[in-house]
């Protein structure tokens, strides 16, 4: 019997459809159907200035907007041959790590909701709001930040931010213990999650699965360590891994990642306290400058020869490894922007890790994948 789980279904967390063939309660085959949220972000990007694409990045992944801004900015800066100031790199890393905490909290809230546990959902959302308040204090937005710019970030951190941020981080560290008490310390949680959705490392690599799903299988692959971007090579942190390759393993990895993110954020805050400076590169092409001005007429571009270039960046986004490939043909708009969505690939591997389990196991397993359809469909 084929059952449509989606596009409007409590399990999906977004608009997508998981077609499941079941016999009794056992899953025999699955078929993800995507595209319900396809907005053509890559196409729209071809008609936009580099800085204007940042507004799209927030909407690409609506729970990890700053991480995607970071991703695109890295690729665009490589394609445009721009070096950002050091301080802005630290701010970006701080923002990305705070975003990782917020995203993982959102995941936690949705995941426990899938297990039928309602109060941790509200705890997770409540505590995520603190991080969003931090975002609001320096970006002005709570969900769509539009903060990073090619060549730096829009503005410096406000006065008193670092102290406030430290207090929030201290508070969050305590909450993580509470989360573990509600889940890991519960026999029912282990009964529900242990040994579910197992995807061993070799198959995970073959299927292209990345992020916490891969690390829960014992792999140490983390782009922040393996191919450090921004200033990650100057920060101390551990790669969170687990060995069980199942839902519990992914839970453990994400919880540990949040703790490591707090650690990274604290180091960034310490550095930012000591090193004031500019946050936007001084030398930018006119149409990228801080006072965001129009080009005027087309002949302008003909009179200036901008360098062409290719930009390729991969970052460790909360859901996995996200990538961007920017082709700059010398115009004010990128010729082509290609994004690699980690969620698309992680969901696609469902054909491998879902069959054999029960219908009741679909929500925890798909919840542990952390599906964000916005970046999946783009």
């Amino acid at each position: 019997m084929w059952v449509n789980m989606g596009p409007q279904h409590p399990m999906t967390h977004g608009l997508w459809n998981l077609r499941v063939r079941i016999e009794g309660e056992i899953i025999k085959d699955v078929e993800p159907e995507l595209g319900f949220l396809h907005r053509g972000i890559e196409k729209i990007s071809e008609d936009r200035h580099y800085n204007e694409i940042i507004t799209l990045m927030d909407r690409t992944c609506y729970v990890a907007g700053l991480a995607w801004e970071h991703l695109f900015i890295l690729a665009a800066e490589q394609a445009l041959h721009i070096t950002p100031p050091e301080r802005s790199e630290y701010i970006r890393v701080l923002a990305s790590e705070l975003q990782r905490i917020a995203s993982h909290m959102m995941w936690y809230a949705a995941f426990v909701q899938d297990l039928g546990l309602m109060s941790p959902f509200l705890y997770g959302m409540r505590d995520r709001d603190l991080v969003l308040d931090l975002f609001q204090s320096f970006t002005g937005g709570r969900l769509t930040y539009e903060y990073m710019r090619v060549g730096g970030v829009r503005n410096d951190l406000p006065l008193g931010f670092t102290g406030q941020c430290r207090r929030v981080l201290d508070w969050l560290i305590d909450r993580f213990v509470e989360y573990d008490h509600l889940c890991l310390a519960s026999t029912i949680f282990h009964e529900r999650c242990d040994g579910l959705g197992v995807l061993p490392a070799p198959e995970a690599v073959a299927y292209g699965v990345t992020g916490p799903m891969l690390r829960s299988a014992g792999s140490h692959r983390d782009l922040r360590k393996d191919r450090p971007y921004s200033v990650y090579d100057r920060l101390q942190f551990d790669v969170a891994t687990a060995t069980s390759a199942d839902v519990t393993g992914r839970y453990l990895v994400r919880m540990e990642e949040m703790r490591q993110s707090v650690r990274i954020s604290r180091q960034c805050l310490d550095w930012l306290d000591d090193h004031p400076g500019p946050v936007l590169a001084a030398q930018l092409p006119r149409w990228l400058g801080a006072p965001y001005a129009p080009v005027g007429n087309e002949s302008y571009l003909l009179k200036r020869n901008y360098p062409t270039g290719l930009g390729f960046s991969m970052i460790e986004e909360p859901h996995g490894e996200a990538g961007a490939y920017v082709v700059n043909d010398g115009g004010e708009h990128p010729y082509r922007v290609k994004f690699r969505s980690p969620v698309l690939i992680n969901v696609w591997a469902a054909k491998r890790y879902l069959p054999g389990y029960r219908v009741a196991d679909i929500p925890p397993i798909m919840g542990s994948v952390d599906v964000c359809v916005g970046e999946c469909d783009r």
Partner: protein, 158 residues
């Protein structure tokens, strides 16, 4: 491994069918190859050079021709490499990488859907984001984004 080493080892194997290995900051390089050797090249990269992970597949419409590119990641060397091949603008097609990397499945379906590059040997080459039977490949330069006014007219006429 350095870019020139990669170029040497590839040229010794494929001669002139490797059109060039360009430097690419942050990456091992950008290998331009002839589409005919795609499958052999993929196999070489996976088995001999250790690029276990296919990260990205995409296409670019350069109007007079199309380009398909692959980004690969080597877990041992911890480095990315980019492969790129030029395909004709009419009926572009290249061998599918699914037998080498199962993860190519979704990437290639997406590339077929958006850029219209056909992957020979793909087990299930259907559209992924656009509805089945959609007339366009939206990422082609010939596809223009509708203005909102156009859309309204279209809806009303239906």
């Amino acid at each position: 491994m350095q870019t020139n080493e990669l170029a040497a080892s590839l040229t010794s194997r494929f001669d002139s069918r490797i059109l060039g290995v360009d430097g690419f900051p942050g990456l091992l390089g950008r290998v331009r190859f002839e589409p005919a050797i795609a499958l052999d090249l993929f196999r070489t990269f996976r088995d001999d050079l250790g690029f276990s992970h296919l990260t990205m597949v995409g296409g670019i419409d350069w109007v007079d021709h199309r380009e398909v590119f692959y980004a690969l990641w080597s877990d041992a060397d911890r480095v990315y490499v980019m492969l790129s091949a030029n395909l004709p603008a009419e009926a572009p097609s290249i061998a599918s990488a699914v037998p080498i990397w199962p993860s190519a499945n979704a990437h290639e379906r997406e590339t077929w859907d958006l850029v219209g590059i056909r992957f020979e040997g793909h087990p299930d080459l259907r559209r992924i984001f656009m509805p089945e039977g959609y007339a366009y490949h939206p990422l082609l330069r010939s596809f223009k984004i509708f203005e909102p006014e156009d859309l309204e007219v279209k809806v009303r006429s239906e």
